[in-house]
Protein backbone atom coordinates (compact mmCIF):
# COMPACT_ATOMS: atom_id res chain seq x y z
CA UNK A 1 0.00 0.00 0.00
CA UNK A 2 2.82 2.34 0.96
CA UNK A 3 4.43 1.76 -2.43
CA UNK A 4 1.22 2.74 -4.14
CA UNK A 5 1.15 6.12 -2.42
CA UNK A 6 4.77 6.89 -3.20
CA UNK A 7 4.10 6.01 -6.83
CA UNK A 8 1.14 8.35 -6.95
CA UNK A 9 3.23 11.02 -5.23
CA UNK A 10 5.90 10.70 -7.92
CA UNK A 11 3.36 11.23 -10.71
CA UNK A 12 1.92 14.23 -8.86
CA UNK A 13 5.39 15.74 -8.36
CA UNK A 14 6.12 15.45 -12.08
CA UNK A 15 2.88 17.25 -12.87
CA UNK A 16 3.61 19.95 -10.27
CA UNK A 17 6.96 20.51 -11.97
CA UNK A 18 5.24 20.76 -15.38
CA UNK A 19 2.50 23.12 -14.21
CA UNK A 20 4.30 25.24 -11.61
CA UNK A 21 5.70 28.00 -13.87
CA UNK A 22 2.36 28.32 -15.60
CA UNK A 23 0.46 28.41 -12.33
CA UNK A 24 2.72 31.20 -11.14
CA UNK A 25 2.17 33.17 -14.34
CA UNK A 26 -1.59 32.83 -14.01
CA UNK A 27 -1.48 33.81 -10.33
CA UNK A 28 0.46 36.98 -11.12
CA UNK A 29 -1.99 37.94 -13.87
CA UNK A 30 -4.38 38.81 -11.02
CA UNK A 31 -1.79 40.99 -9.29
CA UNK A 32 -2.77 44.63 -8.97
CA UNK A 33 0.90 45.72 -8.87
CA UNK A 34 2.65 46.50 -12.11
CA UNK A 35 5.49 43.99 -11.79
CA UNK A 36 5.77 40.26 -11.38
CA UNK A 37 7.87 40.80 -8.25
CA UNK A 38 5.53 41.26 -5.32
CA UNK A 39 1.93 40.16 -5.17
CA UNK A 40 0.03 43.20 -3.93
CA UNK A 41 -3.69 42.74 -4.30
CA UNK A 42 -6.19 40.74 -6.29
CA UNK A 43 -7.38 42.53 -9.43
CA UNK A 44 -8.71 41.94 -12.92
CA UNK A 45 -7.29 45.18 -14.24
CA UNK A 46 -4.53 43.62 -16.37
CA UNK A 47 -7.12 41.66 -18.31
CA UNK A 48 -8.79 44.91 -19.24
CA UNK A 49 -5.42 46.51 -19.93
CA UNK A 50 -4.48 44.01 -22.65
CA UNK A 51 -6.35 46.01 -25.28
CA UNK A 52 -4.51 49.22 -24.35
CA UNK A 53 -1.10 47.65 -24.97
CA UNK A 54 -1.08 47.91 -28.77
CA UNK A 55 2.41 46.38 -29.08
CA UNK A 56 1.23 43.31 -27.25
CA UNK A 57 -2.01 43.04 -29.25
CA UNK A 58 -0.14 43.47 -32.54
CA UNK A 59 2.44 40.89 -31.57
CA UNK A 60 -0.32 38.47 -30.67
CA UNK A 61 -2.18 39.06 -33.94
CA UNK A 62 1.05 38.57 -35.88
CA UNK A 63 1.68 35.31 -34.06
CA UNK A 64 -1.80 34.09 -34.95
CA UNK A 65 -1.41 35.21 -38.56
CA UNK A 66 1.89 33.35 -38.85
CA UNK A 67 0.53 30.22 -37.17
CA UNK A 68 -2.70 30.07 -39.19
CA UNK A 69 -1.13 30.86 -42.59
CA UNK A 70 1.83 28.55 -42.15
CA UNK A 71 -0.39 25.75 -40.84
CA UNK A 72 -2.82 25.97 -43.77
CA UNK A 73 -0.11 26.14 -46.44
CA UNK A 74 2.12 23.48 -44.92
CA UNK A 75 -0.85 21.16 -44.34
CA UNK A 76 -1.91 21.41 -48.00
CA UNK A 77 1.62 20.94 -49.35
CA UNK A 78 2.44 18.26 -46.78
CA UNK A 79 -0.68 16.28 -47.54
CA UNK A 80 -0.36 16.23 -51.31
CA UNK A 81 3.37 15.50 -50.97
CA UNK A 82 2.77 12.57 -48.65
CA UNK A 83 0.39 11.09 -51.22
CA UNK A 84 2.75 11.95 -54.08
CA UNK A 85 5.65 10.23 -52.32
CA UNK A 86 3.51 7.16 -51.66
CA UNK A 87 1.89 6.91 -55.08
CA UNK A 88 4.29 8.09 -57.76
CA UNK A 89 7.82 7.49 -58.93
CA UNK A 90 9.66 10.65 -59.83
CA UNK A 91 13.23 11.94 -59.99
CA UNK A 92 15.03 12.33 -56.61
CA UNK A 93 12.19 10.56 -54.79
CA UNK A 94 14.53 8.44 -52.68
CA UNK A 95 16.70 11.42 -51.86
CA UNK A 96 13.69 13.54 -50.93
CA UNK A 97 12.41 10.76 -48.70
CA UNK A 98 15.47 11.15 -46.53
CA UNK A 99 15.99 14.91 -46.92
CA UNK A 100 12.57 15.73 -45.47
CA UNK A 101 13.74 14.53 -42.05
CA UNK A 102 16.44 17.20 -41.92
CA UNK A 103 14.22 20.01 -40.57
CA UNK A 104 12.91 17.64 -37.89
CA UNK A 105 16.29 16.57 -36.56
CA UNK A 106 18.74 19.43 -37.05
CA UNK A 107 18.91 22.08 -34.32
CA UNK A 108 16.39 24.85 -34.92
CA UNK A 109 19.13 27.45 -34.74
CA UNK A 110 20.88 25.87 -37.73
CA UNK A 111 17.68 25.97 -39.76
CA UNK A 112 17.11 29.56 -38.62
CA UNK A 113 20.52 30.88 -39.66
CA UNK A 114 20.59 28.94 -42.91
CA UNK A 115 17.21 30.39 -43.93
CA UNK A 116 18.40 33.85 -42.88
CA UNK A 117 21.52 33.42 -45.04
CA UNK A 118 19.49 32.38 -48.07
CA UNK A 119 17.05 35.29 -47.67
CA UNK A 120 20.02 37.62 -47.56
CA UNK A 121 21.57 35.92 -50.58
CA UNK A 122 18.34 36.37 -52.53
CA UNK A 123 18.07 39.93 -51.24
CA UNK A 124 14.65 39.22 -49.75
CA UNK A 125 13.66 41.72 -47.11
CA UNK A 126 12.94 40.23 -43.70
CA UNK A 127 9.33 40.74 -42.71
CA UNK A 128 6.37 38.82 -41.41
CA UNK A 129 6.38 36.96 -44.75
CA UNK A 130 9.87 35.63 -44.16
CA UNK A 131 8.70 34.30 -40.78
CA UNK A 132 5.74 32.61 -42.49
CA UNK A 133 7.96 31.01 -45.16
CA UNK A 134 10.35 29.81 -42.46
CA UNK A 135 7.56 28.29 -40.43
CA UNK A 136 6.28 26.54 -43.56
CA UNK A 137 9.81 25.23 -44.08
CA UNK A 138 9.98 23.50 -40.71
CA UNK A 139 6.29 22.42 -40.71
CA UNK A 140 5.94 20.51 -44.01
CA UNK A 141 8.00 17.47 -42.89
CA UNK A 142 5.88 16.99 -39.76
CA UNK A 143 2.69 16.96 -41.86
CA UNK A 144 4.22 14.54 -44.36
CA UNK A 145 5.27 12.13 -41.60
CA UNK A 146 1.88 12.38 -39.93
CA UNK A 147 -0.07 11.73 -43.15
CA UNK A 148 2.36 9.05 -44.35
CA UNK A 149 1.65 6.82 -41.35
CA UNK A 150 -2.04 6.58 -42.39
CA UNK A 151 -1.18 5.35 -45.89
CA UNK A 152 -0.64 1.60 -45.59
CA UNK A 153 -0.58 -1.41 -47.89
CA UNK A 154 -4.31 -1.74 -47.25
CA UNK A 155 -4.78 1.57 -49.08
CA UNK A 156 -3.29 0.12 -52.26
CA UNK A 157 -5.91 -2.64 -52.29
CA UNK A 158 -8.75 -0.13 -52.04
CA UNK A 159 -7.21 2.01 -54.75
CA UNK A 160 -6.83 -0.90 -57.14
CA UNK A 161 -10.40 -2.01 -56.56
CA UNK A 162 -11.65 1.50 -57.33
CA UNK A 163 -9.47 1.68 -60.43
CA UNK A 164 -10.82 -1.64 -61.73
CA UNK A 165 -14.30 -0.22 -61.34
CA UNK A 166 -13.29 2.72 -63.53
CA UNK A 167 -12.73 5.49 -60.98
CA UNK A 168 -10.55 8.40 -62.08
CA UNK A 169 -7.41 9.48 -60.23
CA UNK A 170 -9.22 12.49 -58.93
CA UNK A 171 -12.20 10.61 -57.57
CA UNK A 172 -9.93 7.95 -56.04
CA UNK A 173 -8.13 10.70 -54.18
CA UNK A 174 -11.34 12.38 -53.09
CA UNK A 175 -13.45 9.37 -52.20
CA UNK A 176 -10.89 6.85 -50.97
CA UNK A 177 -7.65 8.53 -49.98
CA UNK A 178 -9.05 11.60 -48.25
CA UNK A 179 -11.17 9.69 -45.70
CA UNK A 180 -8.21 7.43 -44.91
CA UNK A 181 -5.69 10.21 -44.38
CA UNK A 182 -7.94 12.73 -42.62
CA UNK A 183 -6.87 11.70 -39.07
CA UNK A 184 -3.23 12.10 -40.14
CA UNK A 185 -3.96 15.52 -41.62
CA UNK A 186 -5.72 16.67 -38.45
CA UNK A 187 -2.97 15.51 -36.10
CA UNK A 188 -0.26 16.91 -38.41
CA UNK A 189 -2.01 20.28 -38.60
CA UNK A 190 -2.50 20.42 -34.83
CA UNK A 191 1.14 19.62 -34.28
CA UNK A 192 2.52 22.26 -36.66
CA UNK A 193 0.10 24.87 -35.35
CA UNK A 194 1.44 24.24 -31.84
CA UNK A 195 5.04 24.25 -33.05
CA UNK A 196 4.46 27.56 -34.80
CA UNK A 197 2.95 29.18 -31.70
CA UNK A 198 5.81 27.86 -29.58
CA UNK A 199 8.66 28.77 -31.89
CA UNK A 200 11.22 31.26 -30.61
CA UNK A 201 14.45 30.38 -32.37
CA UNK A 202 13.45 30.38 -36.04
CA UNK A 203 11.32 33.53 -35.74
CA UNK A 204 14.21 35.21 -33.93
CA UNK A 205 16.48 34.93 -36.97
CA UNK A 206 13.96 35.43 -39.75
CA UNK A 207 11.87 38.33 -38.40
CA UNK A 208 12.24 41.75 -39.91
CA UNK A 209 12.05 45.07 -38.10
CA UNK A 210 8.49 45.78 -37.01
CA UNK A 211 7.29 42.24 -37.59
CA UNK A 212 7.09 41.34 -33.93
CA UNK A 213 5.54 38.09 -32.88
CA UNK A 214 4.52 37.37 -29.29
CA UNK A 215 7.70 35.49 -28.34
CA UNK A 216 9.90 38.15 -29.93
CA UNK A 217 7.98 40.90 -28.16
CA UNK A 218 8.38 39.15 -24.82
CA UNK A 219 12.07 38.53 -25.50
CA UNK A 220 12.58 42.23 -26.16
CA UNK A 221 10.91 43.35 -22.93
CA UNK A 222 12.37 40.55 -20.82
CA UNK A 223 15.36 42.61 -19.68
CA UNK A 224 13.25 45.52 -18.45
CA UNK A 225 10.66 43.24 -16.85
CA UNK A 226 7.44 41.75 -18.09
CA UNK A 227 4.19 43.50 -17.28
CA UNK A 228 1.23 41.46 -15.97
CA UNK A 229 -0.85 42.11 -19.10
CA UNK A 230 1.40 39.56 -20.80
CA UNK A 231 0.50 37.10 -18.03
CA UNK A 232 -3.18 37.93 -18.51
CA UNK A 233 -3.05 37.26 -22.26
CA UNK A 234 -1.14 34.03 -21.67
CA UNK A 235 -3.75 32.90 -19.14
CA UNK A 236 -6.58 33.50 -21.61
CA UNK A 237 -4.73 31.58 -24.34
CA UNK A 238 -4.06 28.74 -21.95
CA UNK A 239 -7.70 28.54 -20.93
CA UNK A 240 -8.78 28.39 -24.58
CA UNK A 241 -6.33 25.62 -25.51
CA UNK A 242 -7.19 23.75 -22.33
CA UNK A 243 -10.91 23.75 -23.18
CA UNK A 244 -10.23 22.62 -26.75
CA UNK A 245 -7.95 19.78 -25.65
CA UNK A 246 -10.31 18.55 -22.94
CA UNK A 247 -13.22 18.55 -25.40
CA UNK A 248 -11.11 16.57 -27.88
CA UNK A 249 -10.16 14.07 -25.17
CA UNK A 250 -13.78 13.58 -24.12
CA UNK A 251 -14.92 13.11 -27.72
CA UNK A 252 -12.07 10.68 -28.30
CA UNK A 253 -12.74 8.55 -25.23
CA UNK A 254 -16.48 8.45 -26.03
CA UNK A 255 -15.50 7.12 -29.43
CA UNK A 256 -13.23 4.48 -27.87
CA UNK A 257 -16.09 3.42 -25.57
CA UNK A 258 -18.55 3.29 -28.45
CA UNK A 259 -16.22 1.13 -30.50
CA UNK A 260 -15.74 -1.17 -27.51
CA UNK A 261 -19.48 -1.74 -27.20
Amino acid sequence: MKGKYSKLLFIILVFIFLYLPIGVLIAYSFNSGSTNLIFEDFSFKWYLNIIKNTDLVNAFLNTLLVAVTSTVISTVIGTISAYGLYKFDFPFKKLINSLIYIPIVIPEIVLGISLLSVYTLMKLELSIYSIIVSHIAFSIPYVIVSVKTTLTSQTITYEEAAKDLGASNYSIFKKIIMPIITPGIVSGATLVFTLSLDDVVISYFTAGPGSNTLPLYIYSIMKSGITPDVNALTSILLLVTFVILITLTIVQSRKIRKEAL
Binding site: I109, L121, I256
Partner: protein, 284 residues
Amino acid sequence: MKNNKIFKTIFTLPILVYTFILIVLPLLYILFLSFCTSDSYGGIIYEFTFSNYIKIFDLTYLKILFKSALIGVITTIICILISYPFALILRRKSAHIQNLVTKLIMIPFLTNSLIRTYGWIILLRKNGIINNGLIMGGLTSSPLNLMYNRFGIVVGMVYTLLPFMLLPICSSVFEINNDLIEAAKDLGAKPLQIFRKIIIPETISGVFNGSLMVFIPAIGYFFITDILGGGKIMIIGNLIKNQFLTARNWPFGSAISIFLIIITFLLVKLYKRLGGKMDDLGGF
Protein backbone atom coordinates in the same frame (compact mmCIF):
# COMPACT_ATOMS: atom_id res chain seq x y z
CA MET B 1 -3.33 10.34 -70.27
CA LYS B 2 -2.70 14.06 -70.20
CA ASN B 3 -4.92 14.31 -67.17
CA ASN B 4 -2.78 11.75 -65.38
CA LYS B 5 0.32 13.78 -66.06
CA ILE B 6 -1.20 16.93 -64.62
CA PHE B 7 -2.40 14.93 -61.63
CA LYS B 8 1.08 13.57 -61.02
CA THR B 9 2.66 17.00 -61.39
CA ILE B 10 0.33 18.49 -58.78
CA PHE B 11 1.34 15.83 -56.30
CA THR B 12 5.07 15.81 -56.91
CA LEU B 13 6.18 19.28 -57.98
CA PRO B 14 5.59 21.10 -54.66
CA ILE B 15 7.73 18.66 -52.69
CA LEU B 16 10.54 18.92 -55.24
CA VAL B 17 10.46 22.72 -55.13
CA TYR B 18 10.19 22.75 -51.33
CA THR B 19 13.04 20.31 -50.72
CA PHE B 20 15.46 22.02 -53.04
CA ILE B 21 14.69 25.63 -52.17
CA LEU B 22 13.99 25.43 -48.45
CA ILE B 23 16.18 22.51 -47.36
CA VAL B 24 18.99 21.81 -49.82
CA LEU B 25 19.78 25.37 -50.92
CA PRO B 26 20.05 26.86 -47.39
CA LEU B 27 22.26 24.02 -46.17
CA LEU B 28 24.50 24.06 -49.24
CA TYR B 29 24.81 27.82 -48.89
CA ILE B 30 26.00 27.69 -45.28
CA LEU B 31 28.34 24.85 -46.26
CA PHE B 32 29.73 27.21 -48.91
CA LEU B 33 29.92 30.12 -46.44
CA SER B 34 31.79 27.98 -43.95
CA PHE B 35 34.76 27.87 -46.33
CA CYS B 36 34.82 31.66 -46.78
CA THR B 37 36.12 34.36 -44.46
CA SER B 38 34.69 37.65 -43.34
CA ASP B 39 36.11 41.17 -43.18
CA SER B 40 35.80 43.28 -40.05
CA TYR B 41 32.55 44.85 -41.26
CA GLY B 42 30.77 41.54 -41.60
CA GLY B 43 31.20 41.35 -45.38
CA ILE B 44 31.98 37.96 -46.82
CA ILE B 45 35.29 37.37 -48.58
CA TYR B 46 35.04 34.58 -51.12
CA GLU B 47 38.35 32.84 -50.61
CA PHE B 48 38.54 29.14 -49.96
CA THR B 49 39.83 28.36 -46.50
CA PHE B 50 39.61 25.73 -43.77
CA SER B 51 40.40 28.30 -41.09
CA ASN B 52 36.85 28.44 -39.68
CA TYR B 53 36.92 24.73 -38.96
CA ILE B 54 40.36 24.96 -37.40
CA LYS B 55 39.14 27.85 -35.26
CA ILE B 56 36.42 25.65 -33.70
CA PHE B 57 39.22 23.74 -32.01
CA ASP B 58 40.65 26.85 -30.32
CA LEU B 59 40.62 26.42 -26.56
CA THR B 60 38.01 29.21 -26.09
CA TYR B 61 35.54 27.50 -28.39
CA LEU B 62 36.39 23.97 -27.30
CA LYS B 63 35.42 25.02 -23.78
CA ILE B 64 32.04 26.22 -25.01
CA LEU B 65 31.51 22.96 -26.92
CA PHE B 66 32.42 20.98 -23.85
CA LYS B 67 30.13 23.01 -21.56
CA SER B 68 27.24 22.69 -24.04
CA ALA B 69 27.73 18.95 -24.27
CA LEU B 70 27.83 18.73 -20.48
CA ILE B 71 24.57 20.69 -20.12
CA GLY B 72 23.02 18.55 -22.88
CA VAL B 73 24.08 15.28 -21.26
CA ILE B 74 22.96 16.32 -17.74
CA THR B 75 19.59 17.46 -19.14
CA THR B 76 19.13 14.20 -21.06
CA ILE B 77 20.01 12.02 -18.07
CA ILE B 78 17.64 13.89 -15.73
CA CYS B 79 14.86 13.59 -18.31
CA ILE B 80 15.43 9.82 -18.58
CA LEU B 81 15.47 9.45 -14.79
CA ILE B 82 12.11 11.22 -14.56
CA SER B 83 10.47 9.57 -17.58
CA TYR B 84 11.28 5.91 -16.90
CA PRO B 85 9.62 5.60 -13.48
CA PHE B 86 6.78 7.81 -14.69
CA ALA B 87 6.04 5.49 -17.62
CA LEU B 88 6.51 2.29 -15.59
CA ILE B 89 4.06 3.45 -12.90
CA LEU B 90 1.42 4.16 -15.55
CA ARG B 91 2.12 1.05 -17.62
CA ARG B 92 -0.77 -1.06 -16.31
CA LYS B 93 -3.33 1.74 -16.17
CA SER B 94 -6.26 1.83 -18.61
CA ALA B 95 -5.86 3.33 -22.10
CA HIS B 96 -8.21 5.99 -20.83
CA ILE B 97 -5.92 7.26 -18.09
CA GLN B 98 -2.87 6.93 -20.33
CA ASN B 99 -4.56 9.07 -22.96
CA LEU B 100 -5.49 11.68 -20.36
CA VAL B 101 -1.97 11.76 -18.90
CA THR B 102 -0.49 12.26 -22.37
CA LYS B 103 -2.81 15.24 -22.92
CA LEU B 104 -1.93 16.66 -19.50
CA ILE B 105 1.76 16.47 -20.39
CA MET B 106 1.14 18.43 -23.58
CA ILE B 107 -1.06 21.24 -22.22
CA PRO B 108 1.68 23.39 -20.62
CA PHE B 109 3.55 23.20 -23.89
CA LEU B 110 0.83 24.97 -25.77
CA THR B 111 2.03 28.20 -24.21
CA ASN B 112 5.13 29.69 -25.69
CA SER B 113 8.38 28.27 -24.31
CA LEU B 114 9.73 31.76 -23.66
CA ILE B 115 6.78 32.64 -21.43
CA ARG B 116 7.18 29.41 -19.53
CA THR B 117 10.87 30.09 -19.06
CA TYR B 118 9.90 33.48 -17.69
CA GLY B 119 7.70 31.69 -15.14
CA TRP B 120 10.88 30.11 -13.80
CA ILE B 121 12.40 33.54 -13.16
CA ILE B 122 9.53 34.34 -10.81
CA LEU B 123 10.16 31.04 -9.03
CA LEU B 124 13.94 30.92 -8.95
CA ARG B 125 15.21 34.47 -8.42
CA LYS B 126 16.76 35.74 -5.18
CA ASN B 127 13.49 37.09 -3.76
CA GLY B 128 11.47 34.55 -5.73
CA ILE B 129 8.82 32.14 -4.56
CA ILE B 130 11.12 29.17 -3.91
CA ASN B 131 13.68 31.18 -1.93
CA ASN B 132 10.96 32.87 0.10
CA GLY B 133 9.44 29.49 0.84
CA LEU B 134 12.78 28.04 1.93
CA ILE B 135 13.47 31.01 4.22
CA MET B 136 9.99 30.93 5.72
CA GLY B 137 10.32 27.20 6.30
CA GLY B 138 13.60 27.85 8.08
CA LEU B 139 15.53 25.65 5.65
CA THR B 140 17.97 28.40 4.78
CA SER B 141 18.77 31.76 6.32
CA SER B 142 19.93 33.57 3.21
CA PRO B 143 18.51 33.16 -0.32
CA LEU B 144 20.18 30.54 -2.52
CA ASN B 145 21.54 31.23 -6.00
CA LEU B 146 19.07 29.23 -8.02
CA MET B 147 19.50 31.05 -11.31
CA TYR B 148 22.10 32.90 -13.35
CA ASN B 149 24.18 29.74 -13.05
CA ARG B 150 24.29 26.23 -14.46
CA PHE B 151 21.59 25.02 -12.07
CA GLY B 152 19.07 27.50 -13.44
CA ILE B 153 19.94 26.58 -17.02
CA VAL B 154 19.53 22.86 -16.39
CA VAL B 155 16.17 23.44 -14.66
CA GLY B 156 14.98 25.45 -17.68
CA MET B 157 16.27 22.89 -20.19
CA VAL B 158 14.77 19.90 -18.35
CA TYR B 159 11.49 21.73 -18.05
CA THR B 160 11.32 22.78 -21.70
CA LEU B 161 12.44 19.44 -23.12
CA LEU B 162 10.92 16.89 -20.72
CA PRO B 163 7.84 16.13 -22.90
CA PHE B 164 10.13 15.10 -25.76
CA MET B 165 11.46 12.37 -23.45
CA LEU B 166 8.25 11.56 -21.58
CA LEU B 167 6.14 10.96 -24.68
CA PRO B 168 8.39 8.50 -26.59
CA ILE B 169 9.32 6.62 -23.40
CA CYS B 170 5.66 6.39 -22.34
CA SER B 171 4.56 5.15 -25.73
CA SER B 172 7.30 2.49 -25.88
CA VAL B 173 6.70 1.36 -22.28
CA PHE B 174 2.92 1.23 -22.78
CA GLU B 175 3.43 -1.00 -25.80
CA ILE B 176 5.34 -3.72 -23.95
CA ASN B 177 3.43 -6.97 -24.13
CA ASN B 178 2.40 -7.76 -20.57
CA ASP B 179 2.47 -11.52 -21.22
CA LEU B 180 6.22 -11.22 -21.57
CA ILE B 181 6.55 -9.78 -18.09
CA GLU B 182 4.04 -12.20 -16.56
CA ALA B 183 5.91 -15.13 -18.10
CA ALA B 184 9.19 -13.83 -16.69
CA LYS B 185 7.58 -13.47 -13.24
CA ASP B 186 6.21 -17.01 -13.39
CA LEU B 187 9.68 -18.25 -14.17
CA GLY B 188 10.95 -16.51 -11.05
CA ALA B 189 12.56 -13.39 -12.50
CA LYS B 190 13.27 -10.59 -10.02
CA PRO B 191 12.06 -7.04 -10.77
CA LEU B 192 15.58 -5.87 -11.57
CA GLN B 193 16.06 -8.79 -13.96
CA ILE B 194 12.76 -7.97 -15.67
CA PHE B 195 13.86 -4.39 -16.03
CA ARG B 196 17.23 -5.33 -17.47
CA LYS B 197 16.19 -8.22 -19.71
CA ILE B 198 12.76 -7.10 -20.93
CA ILE B 199 11.97 -3.47 -20.30
CA ILE B 200 15.28 -1.95 -21.38
CA PRO B 201 15.61 -3.94 -24.64
CA GLU B 202 11.95 -3.32 -25.52
CA THR B 203 12.16 0.43 -24.95
CA ILE B 204 15.70 1.30 -25.98
CA SER B 205 14.71 2.90 -29.27
CA GLY B 206 12.12 5.05 -27.45
CA VAL B 207 14.78 6.17 -24.98
CA PHE B 208 17.19 7.00 -27.75
CA ASN B 209 14.44 8.82 -29.66
CA GLY B 210 13.82 10.96 -26.57
CA SER B 211 17.53 11.49 -25.97
CA LEU B 212 17.99 12.79 -29.52
CA MET B 213 15.05 15.16 -29.21
CA VAL B 214 16.34 16.43 -25.86
CA PHE B 215 20.10 16.57 -26.38
CA ILE B 216 20.11 18.32 -29.76
CA PRO B 217 17.86 21.25 -28.75
CA ALA B 218 19.62 21.48 -25.37
CA ILE B 219 22.87 22.54 -27.03
CA GLY B 220 21.09 25.09 -29.20
CA TYR B 221 18.42 26.79 -27.04
CA PHE B 222 20.23 30.09 -26.55
CA PHE B 223 17.20 31.81 -25.04
CA ILE B 224 17.29 29.57 -21.97
CA THR B 225 20.95 30.31 -21.25
CA ASP B 226 20.24 34.00 -21.92
CA ILE B 227 17.31 34.16 -19.52
CA LEU B 228 18.17 31.68 -16.77
CA GLY B 229 21.95 31.79 -17.13
CA GLY B 230 22.06 35.57 -17.18
CA GLY B 231 24.33 35.58 -20.22
CA LYS B 232 27.23 34.24 -18.16
CA ILE B 233 27.28 30.73 -19.56
CA MET B 234 27.45 30.21 -23.33
CA ILE B 235 26.31 27.15 -25.19
CA ILE B 236 26.76 26.39 -28.90
CA GLY B 237 23.44 28.12 -29.61
CA ASN B 238 24.69 31.39 -28.10
CA LEU B 239 27.94 31.07 -30.01
CA ILE B 240 26.17 30.69 -33.37
CA LYS B 241 23.72 33.47 -32.55
CA ASN B 242 26.57 35.83 -31.66
CA GLN B 243 28.47 35.04 -34.85
CA PHE B 244 25.42 35.85 -36.93
CA LEU B 245 23.97 38.83 -35.10
CA THR B 246 26.71 40.49 -33.01
CA ALA B 247 30.16 39.53 -34.28
CA ARG B 248 28.77 39.31 -37.81
CA ASN B 249 31.18 36.58 -38.76
CA TRP B 250 28.78 34.46 -40.81
CA PRO B 251 31.43 32.10 -42.18
CA PHE B 252 32.54 31.07 -38.69
CA GLY B 253 28.91 30.78 -37.54
CA SER B 254 28.24 28.58 -40.58
CA ALA B 255 31.21 26.35 -39.82
CA ILE B 256 29.91 25.75 -36.27
CA SER B 257 26.48 25.00 -37.73
CA ILE B 258 27.93 22.45 -40.16
CA PHE B 259 29.81 20.91 -37.25
CA LEU B 260 26.48 20.63 -35.37
CA ILE B 261 24.80 19.05 -38.39
CA ILE B 262 27.55 16.42 -38.59
CA ILE B 263 27.09 15.58 -34.90
CA THR B 264 23.32 15.36 -35.43
CA PHE B 265 23.73 12.99 -38.39
CA LEU B 266 26.04 10.72 -36.41
CA LEU B 267 23.51 10.56 -33.57
CA VAL B 268 20.67 9.82 -36.01
CA LYS B 269 22.77 7.03 -37.59
CA LEU B 270 23.26 5.51 -34.15
CA TYR B 271 19.53 5.81 -33.45
CA LYS B 272 18.70 3.97 -36.68
CA ARG B 273 21.24 1.28 -35.88
CA LEU B 274 19.46 0.72 -32.55
CA GLY B 275 16.30 -0.02 -34.52
CA GLY B 276 14.73 3.44 -34.32
CA LYS B 277 12.39 4.61 -37.06
CA MET B 278 12.71 8.07 -38.58
CA ASP B 279 8.94 8.54 -38.57
CA ASP B 280 8.87 8.31 -34.78
CA LEU B 281 11.17 11.29 -34.32
CA GLY B 282 9.56 14.47 -33.08
CA GLY B 283 6.05 13.16 -33.44
CA PHE B 284 3.83 13.74 -30.47
